[in-house]
């Protein structure tokens, strides 16, 4: 009925992390994009952090969902 909220949370951050990492990789050699962030490729680094966080939460959420479904059975 009410699904484990960590699933949508994990999926959102996995997706956002992927987008940021991909964009960060694509623009890595373009200093104009990172003038604001003092030359740091903030997209790449923060994207990776969010990707790891997203996958972690997603795994926990799927485990929780399976546990809940087993109880309901």
């Amino acid at each position: 009925m009410f699904y484990d909220p960590r699933i949508s949370l994990g999926m959102l951050f996995t997706l956002v992390g992927t987008v940021l990492t991909a964009f960060g990789l694509a623009t890595r050699s373009n200093p104009d994009v990172y003038a604001k962030s003092m030359g740091i490729d903030a997209n790449l680094w923060w994207g990776l952090v969010l990707l790891v966080f997203g996958i972690l939460v997603l795994t926990l959420g799927r485990r929780g969902q399976m546990k809940q479904e087993n109880i309901e059975k």
Binding site: M1, F2, Y3, P5, S8, L9, M11, L12, F13, L15, V16, V19, L20, F23, G24, T27, V33, Y34, A35, K36, S37, M38, I40, A42, N43, W46, G47, L50, F53
Partner: protein, 617 residues
């Protein structure tokens, strides 16, 4: 409103905004099949785990005014605002979790029916609790006041963030394709978030709102932390930050807040914090949807533990913003292979008159507004949004703007769901259709959601026409929540408190708040909605001092009147109060070792909050 540079949204920015929009609506669509009864819709079935309730409470408490306001406070009052926001709320949150939630939550009649005592019924809302504990007139009075406050608050939130979206040109692309006039862009910036909130709340009720508030909390950290880290690096780390903050805002004794440290501590910590975290149904509804009383107690405690981080992440942008150099119109000449380039950076006059990244307020010609002291009046609310533009590259900027949008919608959704619940339970069912079948209750709750969003949009439109309504929000809070806090405290802990007493207390407190506001005027202000519209008898040091004073007076008057009237009226029998006062409620039995109990957690969180505040003072 002036901003530093008009951003154009790059493809990844828009993509991140769209991903967020998709997941936000998903919460509504995936919970739609579960919305079979009014209990599911208004109370999320009372099946939520404690951690989700805690995150949802925190998300609900971080609406647009809070997000912009904390950055503004950092810019305006300096480091002491960390102590103000942390110590002003955390003790109240812990108190709510330890002592008030068992009373408000009552018993979860479906989940633990074995534990249910005869006569113990669970309130679905704070007005309903007042009805059970006191009487019908107290319930009706509070229901009407609360409904008005939540709709008005949601409208002000829409307007406050709509202005920022217009200044940041977030909706310009959409508005241009629709050929909208300038005011149309603001209307669009207010209508679009309101419509999205309406869709997901109609589909998924309180549950969808809570899922999105939990999401919102995670987004705040994910979206604003990189900006804070980059800002700190730019300003030279912690020592650099301390060096740039003006000396007077580092010392609480001389800071321009002017309220005096004692008044500040007592007023903010006790009345404002308590009236928010122990009283406001917009936040408490999340904890009251918990699966059992243990989870309901844990929710505010979890929220308190995370609140310390949120306060730091939201206030530091304001501190950094004033510490950075103010942008000026400049001409840089450089020679490239014999060709001379003149690079001219034009900065609007209102931005130049500002302090750091905080611009001055601009009049209709774009000139800075001057205050009576000859200084430009600063638009502190732009501190955090301007920091986003300054430090986040394309990509992360999209995530930062998502945070602004998520905070706006989380706050509005909390107002709308609580409006719907209070209207349906405490006005429709209590007075209009006493024996309405649950089918009609569910339909009514949905219609009340639509009504709540429409009222909020109306309030936002009114605020757009009369800007000063923005300042009325503290007064509304003092009129509605501060007296209610006094009455709830008496009701939950003093068996002798009676219905007549509570009713008189609510009215006297509200009247005292209105009178105090009408008779005092902050320095440097003209009489109006900021105060002094009856006659000016005294001058508090700032609008914040006036707001604190009004709330404290309303609380004290309400407490005294309610107690006095209670002593002269007939007390309720002990049996009638079963489960409704703390001394007669089922005490949660202590499970586990002492360090695993909520009391121990609460003590640890309080110590941590004090330690963090001391670092910042």
């Amino acid at each position: 409103m002036q901003n530093l540079a008009a951003p154009s949204l790059a493809a990844p920015d828009s993509l991140i905004l769209l991903i967020y929009g998709f997941f936000m609506l998903t919460a509504g669509f995936s919970l739609k099949p579960a919305m079979t009864s009014s209990r599911q819709f208004m109370q999320a079935g009372r099946v939520m785990p404690g951690w989700l309730c805690g995150l949802a409470m925190l998300g609900a408490s971080l609406g647009s005014q809070e997000l912009l306001g904390m950055g503004a406070a950092g810019a305006r009052y300096g480091m002491v605002s960390v102590a103000f926001f942390a110590l002003g709320s955390i003790p109240a949150m812990l108190f709510a979790g330890l002592y008030l939630m068992p009373v408000f939550y009552g018993s979860n009649s479906l989940a633990d029916s074995s534990a249910q005592k005869p006569g113990a019924v669970a309130a679905r809302s704070i007005p309903e609790y007042l009805g059970l504990r006191f009487d019908r007139k107290t319930r009706a009075l509070n229901a009407v006041m609360f409904a008005a406050m939540s709709a008005f608050g949601a409208g002000i939130a829409l307007y406050a963030m709509g202005r920022v979206f217009v200044a940041l040109h977030v909706f310009d692309q959409v508005a241009n394709t629709l050929n909208l006039p300038p005011t149309g862009t603001l209307l669009l910036a207010m209508a679009l978030p309101a419509a999205l909130v309406l869709v997901y709340v109609l589909l998924g009720g309180l549950g969808a709102a809570m899922y999105n508030q939990a999401l919102q909390f995670c987004l705040i950290i994910a979206g604003l932390l990189p900006m804070v880290l980059l800002g700190l690096k730019r300003i030279g780390g912690w020592s650099g930050l301390k060096a740039t903050v003006p000396a007077n805002s580092l010392h609480p004794g001389t800071h321009p807040m002017g309220a005096g440290v004692v008044v500040l501590a007592v007023g903010a910590g006790f009345v404002l914090g308590g009236a928010t975290w122990c009283t406001d149904f917009r936040l408490l509804q999340a904890a009251m949807a918990a699966k059992n009383v243990e989870a309901a107690r844990r929710a505010p405690i979890i929220a308190a533990a995370l609140r310390v981080f949120v306060v730091i992440v939201l206030i530091l942008p304001g501190l950094i913003a004033v510490g950075l150099p103010t942008p000026h119109t400049s001409i840089v000449i450089h020679n490239d292979n014999g060709v001379i380039y003149h690079e001219i950076t034009v900065v609007p006059p209102a931005v130049e008159a500002g302090s750091g990244l905080v611009p001055a307020k601009a009049d209709t010609d774009g000139k800075p507004v001057m205050g009576s002291g000859g200084h430009a009046v600063l638009d502190y609310a732009m501190a955090t949004p301007n920091m986003l533009l300054q430090f986040l590259p394309a990509g992360l900027l999209g995530l930062g703007l998502t945070v602004l949008l998520a905070c706006l919608m989380g706050g509005v959704a909390a107002s709308v769901t609580s409006f719907s619940t209070v209207f349906t339970c405490d006005i429709f069912q209590a007075f209009l259709a006493k024996n309405a079948a649950d089918k009609y209750m569910l339909a009514m709750a949905r219609w009340a959601t639509v009504g709540g969003v429409l009222l909020a949009f109306g309030a936002a439109y009114a605020a757009m026409c009369f800007n000063s309504l923005l300042d009325a929000i503290l007064l509304v809070f003092a009129v509605v929540n501060a007296p209610l806090f006094a009455v709830l405290l008496l009701g939950a802990f003093w068996r002798r408190a009676t219905g007549h007493g509570a009713f008189a207390g609510l009215i006297a407190g509200a009247a005292a708040a209105v009178l105090h506001q009408g008779l005092s005027l902050p320095r440097d202000e003209r009489p109006g909605i900021q105060g002094g519209w009856i006659a000016v008898l005294h001058h508090p040091a700032s609008d914040l001092a006036l707001g604190l004073g009004t709330a404290m007076l309303a609380f004290l008057v309400s407490l005294l009147v309610a107690a006095a009237v209670s002593l002269f009226t007939k007390a309720a029998q002990a049996e009638e109060l079963n489960g409704l006062v703390f001394s007669l409620s089922a005490r949660p039995t202590a499970i586990g070792r002492w360090w695993k109990r909520p009391e121990a957690e609460a003590a640890a969180i309080l110590l941590a909050a004090i330690a963090v505040s001391l670092i910042f003072i």
